[in-house]
Chain length 539, copies 2
Amino acid sequence: MAAAEWWEALVAAAAVGGTAGSSTTVVSICVFTAVLCLCLVAGHLLEENKWVNESITALIIGCLIGAIIFLLTKGKQSHILRFDEQLFFIYVLPPIIFNAGFQVKKKQFFHNFMTIMSFGVFGVFISVAIVSAGCYWLFPKVGFGKLDASDYLVSTDLIDNSALGAIFSSTDTVCTLQVINQDETPRLYSLVFGEGVVNDATAVVLFNAIKNLNISHLKGEVVLKVISDFLYLFATSTILGISMSLSTAYVLKALYLGRHSTDREVALMALMAYLSYMLAELLDLSGILTVFFCGIVMSHYAWHNVTASSRITTKHIFATLSFIAETFIFLYVGMDALDIDKWKTSKASFKTSISIFGIIILLVLLGRAAFVYPISILSNNMSGSSERTPITFKHQVVIWWAGLMRGAVSIALAYNQFTFSGVTSDPVHATIITSTIIIVFFTTLVFGFLTRPLISTMLPRHSRALSRGHSTGSNSPNDDFTLPFFSTDEDASGSGIVLEQAKRSISLLLERPVHTVHIYWRKFDDKFMRPIFGGPQSH
Amino acid sequence: MAAAEWWEALVAAAAVGGTAGSSTTVVSICVFTAVLCLCLVAGHLLEENKWVNESITALIIGCLIGAIIFLLTKGKQSHILRFDEQLFFIYVLPPIIFNAGFQVKKKQFFHNFMTIMSFGVFGVFISVAIVSAGCYWLFPKVGFGKLDASDYLVSTDLIDNSALGAIFSSTDTVCTLQVINQDETPRLYSLVFGEGVVNDATAVVLFNAIKNLNISHLKGEVVLKVISDFLYLFATSTILGISMSLSTAYVLKALYLGRHSTDREVALMALMAYLSYMLAELLDLSGILTVFFCGIVMSHYAWHNVTASSRITTKHIFATLSFIAETFIFLYVGMDALDIDKWKTSKASFKTSISIFGIIILLVLLGRAAFVYPISILSNNMSGSSERTPITFKHQVVIWWAGLMRGAVSIALAYNQFTFSGVTSDPVHATIITSTIIIVFFTTLVFGFLTRPLISTMLPRHSRALSRGHSTGSNSPNDDFTLPFFSTDEDASGSGIVLEQAKRSISLLLERPVHTVHIYWRKFDDKFMRPIFGGPQSH
């Protein structure tokens, strides 16, 4: 078979290293670009389908291509690029996160700021704690050894366990967002979207904080250290992102680049956004948070200082880049699933693998449930005022479900912690990598498959229309259907309403500060920020 | 000096290799992105300036940054990235060329097709021959040794000389295009622009043909081989580019991706364009030609099948990418100019360096004059009809001048031929690299500086307005000013007109085929192509 041999030679050469020779890189890029195009078209054709979504399509296509390469090379290879976390963290992740910030509906986001932050930050802390503890406790019971097989301190083991916690706490909400309608359930959408972004950022930041831990100190200090590190990173990264985007806005406004060229405006916005990410990485901050806030602020100020064409172009180009990056990742994971080396290196028996898989899925379900429901209830209690729709039980289920999928960030973090440039010779580490891949596959395919039917059940058109009514009108009789925080349909009775009113009077007191902050911010924005940095002409 | 040491450590580490460690890559990307932003803003501020243009700005800023790094590292380094032709040919060049094809005014381009091709193809052949022969003859006279210092065949020397010819025959017309007004002198603009693109492509193709030569055959056969290789490459690359863009157009039209998402359309167009380039490279064709024709055909069909937002987005994003890529290159060249290693490796004395520089500049001037004037005269003779403005002497001077600047392609080809990943230990090769850098610098700075004044002299508002009149109206009395092909203002006398009329009657016969082809193409396009591949609604 001449074709097979030709392919074999090329792919074998390509596997040696991405940047080694010209032809190898060219082959990889060609195949990847072609397959990306295929994914685009397939995703379009399947868009109306009830069961699949873009992630699933890319995953399956990646898997098929992997299988073809696998057959052509007679079982030696299944992918054409070694996984490179650098590639992921330097080129693929920034556009995704920046676009998330850029496209976020700021009003909804900041309106739900406290709830989103609770989900995205405290939620991840809770989830990491549960998953880590669960792994630490359950793995030895199924005969899966110490995570770090070398003779290091026990504390390394702890770090590896905590790393596992962070890896399996980062969610992938793309799947769910494709199904939820932003106009029908704006608050739910905003919560799921906001949590997805903050969650990614938190998981990465927490992961890095854990990695850099020096555990020769006491355990209590360690926890404090992680938290203070996290807060420091959060604050500095946010400040960096905001100042970068403000300076972009200022330059665009003061120099009015559009006078001569739209291209220059677009280039400047994109480059400054990227620069903010890279600067954060250079200063050992969290690029992901920086670029997210850069995106938010840029769409609030800078975006209004450019020509109409620039506005259209930037909006679409950031979305396109993000879209390509996401497809790229799922494609890669699909190809990687058949990587025979990892399966061979991992010496875990079938039974152990199944147990590990079961444990992780269980911990993921549990870890998420452990914070979604309590925080929702808390949030409902804190802000049961007339202005906001509380998070109904059905919405809580949707939020819980939306965060069950594991995606690109999990994979990238796992490779970062347990491989060296995508290769590992340690059987325990290889097992973790293969488990991560299985988890990503399983959650994306099975949970992803079920998302659309689940949401149709939980939010039928009828009730979706209702929730939309809430967000615009308020205190209408329909409220009763959705207001009670532990509501099922039967709960919408008189007692629920009484309870509700009692809560409201309390929460009104608690809520005042948020409102006050918002009003002052508006004033400040109008009086000082917009004249300097530009912005929409009218509120 | 703490800052200097910190910088030194980072830069020294970065110099080891681009993809080695995380922090090194991050530093390089950060500095480059920041400096790119600086260039953008500086370019904008200096746009109204009579003397400088974007290339010059980028070159000077690059040089300054290089000097700063040079000082900080105490003379050890001047750049932060080793030159990587792969980077250049895989990532930087494709957007530039694709954008050129995408933005070209197709009507003007095809109207002047024969002239542009003569300039861009035959012109380069002539120029390569003159420069190669000149180097071969003159270099030994100034004491500059055999090009290939090793003990190979003499033919290697010949290849190196021919490579020099190709290197110094690729032009950089960006400088001039910024000055010529497309509306005032559409034909001149189209000629300069078209030649610039075709010239780049020809130079690269010819360079590769020369590189791959196996000169154990006879000399006559060699020339034939180069020409047949060239024609084969030209034909196959064009066909590949056209078929890729036609299939994109078909997919966009048949599936109507915009129904769901503009982002998907934009992504598909960009990816298919890039795929065409990479496929061409994979098949050992000329990616540059492929992607150029892909751009032309894509803007003719595919671009009309997408949503209005997609149209705006693609138009600007391709321009932006091209713009960034160009700035990147000049910035790099600026930084590279102070690379002390190359200057040390090159053992040429100051006198020899000056002589080499003088010889090359002379050959460049001569090589270009040797084809611009004859081909212009030929073109005027072939098509002196009422429909077209002939190329006046002043226009010829502008065309000649426009192609004197040497830019990114020259640098990339020189590095490709005479270094191994940007490093060379051969003194002769190092001398060629440094000479190339000097030539690029000199032509971009000095010739670039003079472009605006020269063009204001050659095409004063008054005469520019006239040429514009020609392109729309025809046979007006004003014709006499610009019609005679060797016209200076005094030539516009009676005898000129008589000569002109004689020429016209001849050329009318010669011109018929071009017209006929055009008419048949229109019919074919309307009847078969547009219904399948889409396109503008009306002519």
